[in-house]
């Protein structure tokens, strides 16, 4: 069953074709690395798959839901880590994660293990997010994705702003997620690091897919 299926998908920012005809099929359990220069459309591709953007033309389905008409249900079943971490500064780490867990209709019991997983449980859990460093904020944002246990992970430069131990943590998360049967689509500028992780590498340029290599791992 294909998790993501896009046929000639076009998405616009204003009138600019950020995605100018994307054909892509991603199966269950794949870990797809999306590479490409700035402005190529990596972030847009991830946001399109998350159901956050209007499909200008072409068609597509994500997790079996139609991209044109069932975007709310797509949004409910994906985990997107974008550039902004979507956290409430005045609330503590735990309060933030509790809120996002309940909003995503996920049992709050999943919050503590997720916090431990991302190393923000012990000292930080009752610290207001405002006081955290950028790296710590990203860990909390990642924890929010872990808590949802989504079937499709969409990570936009997950390694950005993380220290080395944090980057290893991200790699481990991706491996575990794939092992658990989830599908991962991640964009990254760190070419070498994420290579071994990915089962497949696609390059995006000028809003279209210019390369699609499936590693024989």
């Amino acid at each position: 069953m294909s998790i993501i299926r896009l046929q000639a998908a076009v998405a616009l920012i204003g009138r600019f074709p950020a995605l100018a005809g994307i054909d892509l099929e991603v199966g269950e359990g794949e870990v797809v690395l999306v590479q490409g220069p700035n402005g190529a459309g990596k972030s847009t591709l991830l946001r399109l798959c998350a159901g956050l953007m209007r499909l200008e033309s072409g068609e597509g389905t994500v997790l079996g839901h139609d991209l044109a008409t069932e975007r709310p249900s797509i949004r409910r079943s994906v985990g997107l880590l974008g550039h902004d971490t979507a956290l409430y500064d005045d609330l503590t780490v735990r309060e933030n994660l509790d809120f996002w867990a309940r909003a995503s209709r996920v049992d709050e019991a999943a919050v503590t293990p997720a916090m431990e997983r991302l190393g923000v449980a012990d000292r930080l859990h009752d610290v207001p997010v405002a006081l955290l460093s950028a790296g710590q904020r990203r860990r909390v944002a990642l924890a929010a994705v872990v808590v949802r246990r989504p079937r499709l992970w969409l990570l936009d430069e997950p390694h950005a702003g993380l220290d080395p131990s944090g980057r290893d943590l991200v790699d481990q998360l991706v491996v575990d997620a794939a092992a658990a049967g989830a599908t991962v689509l991640l964009s990254s500028h760190e070419v070498d690091r994420t290579l071994e992780l990915a089962t497949r590498r696609i390059t995006v340029a000028g809003g279209t897919i210019t390369g699609d290599v499936t590693d024989a791992r």
Binding site: A50, L52, P72, S73, R75, R76, V78, L80, G82, H83, D84, T85, A86, L87, Y88, D89, D90, L91, E95, F99, W100, R102, A103, S104, R105, P128
Partner: protein
């Protein structure tokens, strides 16, 4: 849906409680405005008595604009609005949740202001039920219109100045209606306060429905 409304309202109120803006800034500001009205009109007792409910509700309107700006600021930081969409919370629930939080904060300030009006302008309450009903219904109207317009200008450069321009004319019926209802409740003018309350309820209902419908469209635009 109801759980989501409670969830969002609780979140907003907890953030508000954590930063104490209402308590430490909005309430003192409201009382200060009353005091200033007092200075301006006190020498002329009859005018002050007649104008009490009008001054009260002008002050509440200003407080309303401030609370709405606070509530909107909470969501604009760091892409929270998009995350709410992603979490799959019903947009109408987000709207109602935030409106409830704003309404409760407004009610709190209104209670304090009633005390202020009694002490500073020595008003006397003739009909407590009408007074409380007016506060409740007017707060719903202000919160509903405010939350929608707040979300509308969220993320825009000049939102601090645009919001009052948008919100205050829209709230004109609330100012007229609530003032008249208070005139009856405080016994300053022989007028049928309960009829005015009906008008306020109409205003509140229209804006609540409109807000619940339009909020989703706004969130989609981010």
């Amino acid at each position: 849906m109801l759980a989501d409304i409670r969830l969002v309202a609780a979140k907003d109120l907890r953030i508000e409680w954590r930063s104490r803006v209402t308590l430490s800034q909005v309430v003192p500001f409201a009382l200060l405005v009353l005091v200033l009205f007092g200075f301006a009109l006190d020498a002329n007792r009859p005018v002050l008595d007649a104008a009490t409910s009008g001054l009260y509700w002008v002050t509440v309107l200003f407080v309303g604009v401030m609370s709405v700006q606070r509530a909107t600021a909470i969501e604009t930081t760091d892409g929270a609005r998009r995350a709410l969409l992603l979490a799959g919370v019903e947009p109408a629930a987000v709207f109602l949740g935030k409106a409830v939080a704003v309404a409760l904060q407004l009610l709190f300030v209104e209670v304090v202001l009633v005390g202020g009006v009694i002490v500073l302008f020595d008003a006397s309450i003739e009909s407590l039920p009408l007074l409380t009903a007016t506060c409740l219904v007017a707060s719903v109207g202000i919160a509903a219109a405010g939350t929608l317009l707040g979300a509308l200008v969220a993320g825009v450069r000049a939102r601090e100045t645009v919001l009052p321009i948008l919100l205050l004319p829209v709230l004109a019926p609330v100012l007229i209606g609530a003032t008249r209802a208070f005139d009856d409740a405080l016994g300053t003018v022989a007028v049928d306060g309960w009829a005015w309350l009906g008008l306020l309820a109409g205003f509140g209902a229209i804006n609540t429905v409109l807000g619940a419908l339009a909020y989703g469209v706004l969130l989609e635009e981010t």
